[in-house]
Amino acid sequence: MTAMELLRECYEIQGKNFDKAGEVSGEIKVVLRDLGIDAVHLRRLVIVAFEAEMNVVMYAQRGTMTLIVTDEDINLETTDEGPGIPDIELALQVGYSTASDEMREMGFGFGMGLPNMKKNSDEFRIESDVGKGTSVFSKIRLPAHE
């Protein structure tokens, strides 16, 4: 039996706009709460979304975030036009970071973002093309399907 799609939303993220950084994740939190997603799974997805959004804002020119909720799982795909990640395995190591001082002053760039996203996902995948951009896929299974 295939999963039934309950919601599909697409959000634009502006690179380098630190004032707005986090607004999309805030909207996603409200949308998921309105859908009746339980607090534990909602929190996990919003952490993934917020870290992904901050990465787009910090590193890329622009990005899109697509949220697809089915009766089985929540899927979040974040795609950006940015520098790309040359070594994905290295980028996933806790503590590894290429952040600038400016990014660290914002409270990010301590090498925990991607590991946080992976930890909170049931399925997690990064695809990157250096010089073009990065896509990050996260799936969180809902309680009856874990």
Binding site: D19, G26, R43, M54, M106, F108
Partner: protein, 114 residues
């Protein structure tokens, strides 16, 4: 411990959430790294940070903490306080430094998250 007691202990000024100081606090997460707070907070903690930008309050919202205390007397912009009010997150500021805050709260029985 009630947030109102913590407010007195740390000589805090309340910037948002004056009516929500009766919340009970058991655990504390303290860092200037927002990803660290997102990684370790499990929800309902007290968040202590020296970072006063808009991401601090967005992190507090995403992490689901009960309240935020800004240390070293650092005050956030009005925009940050407005978002905190909108999200119903109490915000306090203390002149104390992070090390002293953590020591005082630890001595009173509060625990960190790990």
């Amino acid at each position: 411990m009630k947030l109102s007691e913590i407010k007195d202990l740390l000589q805090c000024e309340v910037l948002a959430g004056e009516d929500d100081l009766s919340v009970d606090i058991q655990q504390v997460v303290a860092s200037d790294g927002m990803s660290e707070i997102l990684a370790f907070a499990k929800s309902r903690e007290l968040m202590i940070t020296g970072l006063t930008n808009i991401q601090s309050i967005r992190t507090a919202d995403v992490a689901g903490v009960s309240a935020v205390i800004y240390c070293r007397g650092k005050r956030p912009d009005k925009k940050v306080i407005d978002i905190a009010r909108q999200k119903r997150i109490p915000v306090l500021v203390t002149p104390m430094v992070m090390f002293d805050i953590c020591g005082i709260l630890y001595n009173r029985g509060l625990k960190g998250v790990s």
